[in-house]
């Protein structure tokens, strides 16, 4: 089995979904999570707070520095993710299709074999 990261991105400046749309999204992701668990594909999943709540920690020459805000200077930030285990990419893509229908574009990225326990 291989592990894949399915990530959903938040785009700065994109219109915020209405409450009703958020409710639908939560309901649908909840359903996807249940189905993933039933299929034995689910490892871990979660939604993240906005990138302004992020802190970057650096250690340089033994000194620790912290800075407010996200690491990447970009307009697209990871907003939530699933970690799933599948036999191959096609299985992961099938899950990604459902996730994308619920939350918008999904990036599917395989874990490095060496980092999989």
């Amino acid at each position: 089995m291989k592990q894949y990261l399915l990530s959903v991105h938040f785009v700065e400046g994109a219109p915020t979904p209405s409450d009703e749309e958020m409710q639908t999204m939560f309901r649908e992701t909840g359903r996807i999570n249940d189905d993933m668990q039933a299929a034995g594909a689910w490892v871990f999943a979660g939604g993240l707070t906005s990138p302004d709540s992020a802190t970057v920690v650096r250690v340089e020459n033994g000194a620790t520095a912290m800075s407010d805000g996200p690491f990447a200077e970009t307009k697209e930030h990871i907003a939530g993710f699933w970690v799933i285990k599948c036999a191959d990419l096609d299985e992961a893509l099938a899950w990604a299709e459902r996730c994308a229908a619920a939350c918008g574009p999904v990036e599917v990225r395989p874990f490095d074999d060496l980092s999989q326990a």
Binding site: K2, C86, A87, D88, L89, D90, L93, V108, P110, D112, D113
Partner: protein, 399 residues
């Protein structure tokens, strides 16, 4: 004994079989190349089944190689290999392996450019410089595309399989494109001899297998029919001194009747399903060309009009103009070409030159021929265009 022709005929099949056995494309390629090197040293005469010999040797080589290597991955692969005891030793290449590998190479998760390059490399055994020439691309670019695609297949675990029925509508188009391009490259090679029969034959063989696997997909039948009807005319395409002979001047008695009959039958079968697609229409055009003693041009033009709706590309517009010239005359065809833009493609100025010549506008025709000659990389086609250009100064055409 001709090892080169065995290589051309068996390379793709052997790589496909080894890819299934080893689950790794790179390893499969290396093992097959090793096996051909061994064959070069050992074969005094051709073994009864060269493909099976190569597969067995390649497999043994791969097992040896995996035993020597000591990474975790290699041990894992080795364990898999050694557990496949039920696999008969002397297997000839299994035909489905190739389809499986084509679908892997044409996976939608790979970039379109990479799909073609990878398929031509793995299934046709074309070398990187040949692929680069065929697509007017840099060798390094093509090499990188292939390396990247193979890495993604491995890292993302793109599976080796023919997709399930419900996935086919998405997965089939790039596969059809690849087979079509493979045939085209064989039928009008970018460089070297005009026709590479091995590539044409391989594309037809794979299209047949695809049609056997998916007899209900009309575009698959359409593509097969198109390839057969084009191949059928090949024997008449070159004259006695190897010169290019265009359709109107071809000796129709040289055409392959059996392939034409099979192609016509397929065209009827797929059109009956009433789900027309670009390959079916092109096959229908091929059927009109090969029906009776002369081409029914109004019918060809009607089909091109339909094709232009389904596939509004510049190449289709160019081909349609040829039919327009036959039905409405060269002036109308020339006007139809005005908005067609195909930078770098010699057939546009070549077609324009023919139309201008027919209108007696020799000066403009000569300039257009010069343009076309400069853009052609194939010697046979260049010679053909030069002859046409020379004929301008010796007017013999009445039209």
């Amino acid at each position: 004994m001709d090892l080169a022709s065995v290589y051309r005929a068996e390379y793709g099949r052997c790589v496909a079989t080894l890819a299934r056995l080893l689950g790794d494309i790179n390893l499969a390629e290396e093992a097959v190349q090793d096996a051909f090197t061994t064959a070069l040293q050992k074969w005094q005469t051709l073994p009864p089944n060269p493909g099976a010999w190569i597969v067995t040797t390649a497999r043994n080589r791969a097992v040896d190689r995996l035993r020597r290597e000591s990474t975790r991955e290699a041990r894992h692969a080795q364990a898999l290999l050694l557990h496949q005891q039920d696999e008969p030793q002397e297997v000839g290449p299994v035909k489905d392996d190739q389809l499986r590998l084509i679908f892997t190479c044409c996976h939608p998760a790979l970039a379109p450019d990479a799909r073609t390059a990878l398929t031509l490399r793995l299934l046709c055994g074309l070398e990187v410089p040949e692929i680069a020439r065929a697509y007017l691309a840099q060798e390094t670019t093509v090499a990188q595309r292939i390396v990247r695609a193979k890495k993604k297949i491995r890292d993302a675990a793109i599976p080796y399989r023919v997709p399930a029925e419900h996935e086919l509508p998405d997965r089939l188009p790039p596969v059809l494109t690849v087979l079509y391009l493979m045939f085209n490259e064989g039928y009008a090679s970018t460089a070297g001899p005009l026709i590479r029969t091995d590539l044409c034959g391989e594309a037809i063989r794979l299209a047949r297998e695809l049609a056997a696997l998916m007899p209900d997909e009309p575009e698959v039948l359409g593509l097969l029919a198109l390839l057969l009807l084009t191949e059928a005319r090949r024997p008449a395409r070159l004259g006695p001194t190897g010169e290019l002979v265009l359709l109107p001047d071809q000796d129709r008695s040289l055409w392959n009747r059996a392939l034409i009959a099979e192609g016509h039958d397929l065209v009827r079968r797929c059109l009956r399903r009433n789900r027309p697609g670009p390959y079916q229409i092109q096959a229908a055009i091929g059927a009109v060309h090969t029906d009776g003693a002369a081409t029914d041009w109004p019918q060809v033009l009607a089909l091109y009009d339909q094709l232009l709706v389904l596939a509004p590309t510049s190449v289709v517009a160019l081909n349609r103009a040829v039919a327009v010239a036959e039905v409405h005359g060269p002036a109308v065809a020339l006007a139809a070409l005005e908005d067609v833009d195909l930078p770098g493609y010699h057939r546009l100025p070549a077609t324009r030159a023919e139309l201008l010549a027919r209108l007696g506008r020799d000066g403009e025709a000569r300039a257009a021929y010069d343009q076309a000659i400069a853009l052609t990389s194939n010697e046979t086609e260049r010679a053909f265009l030069r002859t046409r250009r020379t004929e301008l100064t010796h007017p013999r055409r009445s039209a």
